[in-house]
Symmetry: C2
Subunit: 155 residues, 2 copies
């Protein structure tokens, strides 16, 4: 937990020069790489709730970094896309991200990082099953139909 906080802090600080926190930067970067998407998809990608995404979009929209455009196929949904200012910022974000990643990886081999990722996934799985049955010893239920997709912000 402490490590997670340290890393988040390092990211927040790195992005503070761009006046963004980690989540905001992730959103802009993610849109830059995957194109406009609706808020529910963003929430899934960034592992946040829909409400949190909504208020993030609010903030970034007032700063003209992203923009809500109606989805022509579904009047319920907004497509969130980067403005030109947002796109410009995105390349900087990705640059900073890669730079910080390099510093975090410092002294860790590729194999080690792979193993670390593996450990974390296993821990998460254990935590999830543990959260399922509290005091009981019941077998793990069918709660997790969502084997966490790689391709998120792992690595």
């Amino acid at each position: 937990m402490v490590t997670a906080r340290d890393i988040r802090q390092a990211y927040d600080q790195s992005f503070s020069s761009l006046d963004l926190n980690l989540s905001q930067a992730s959103m802009i970067g993610y849109i830059a790489e995957n194109g406009p998407m609706n808020q529910t998809e963003l929430a899934a990608a960034l592992v946040l709730g829909r409400a949190a995404i909504g208020s993030m979009v609010d903030q970034l929209e007032t700063r003209r970094l992203v923009r809500r455009v109606p989805d022509p196929d579904d009047r319920r949904v907004w497509l969130v896309e980067n403005t030109s200012a947002g796109s410009t910022l995105a390349v900087e974000i990705i640059r900073v991200d890669e730079q910080l990643r390099r510093r975090l990886r410092d002294g860790m081999s590729r194999a080690e990082r792979q193993q670390l990722a593996d450990f974390l996934v296993r821990l998460s799985a254990n935590a999830a099953t543990a959260a399922g049955g509290i005091g009981d010893l019941s077998p793990p239920n069918e709660i997790e139909t969502h084997t966490p997709q790689t391709g998120d912000i792992n690595d």
Copy 2:
């Protein structure tokens, strides 16, 4: 980060039967194992700010689980100690903790856990130095005189 959240959630849920969250349980457990201590020490041990500790003590004090007693040697400080109810609860806390630890370790060898801990410490160190110099390439300053003590809630 996601893993950290999952673990915290598992802990919170495990302790919810005792009507405690992870931080509260950690505090009572820590006092139970190390004896009464002042709030600054508690903050360092639980890796929280002093203000957060203060309000936690407030909560637990109204529930008569801990108690503030004046430090005879320093009139600024309160020593926080478990009440008898708190001590009773502590053994339950430790039991739940050990049980959950076992479930988290599931499928991980002792060597693997050791290695994981090592990775996390290294990552934290990297994050700390990265947080020191943002865009500059200056050498790490003397900010971190506090090599994170083992003996906390690692393992």
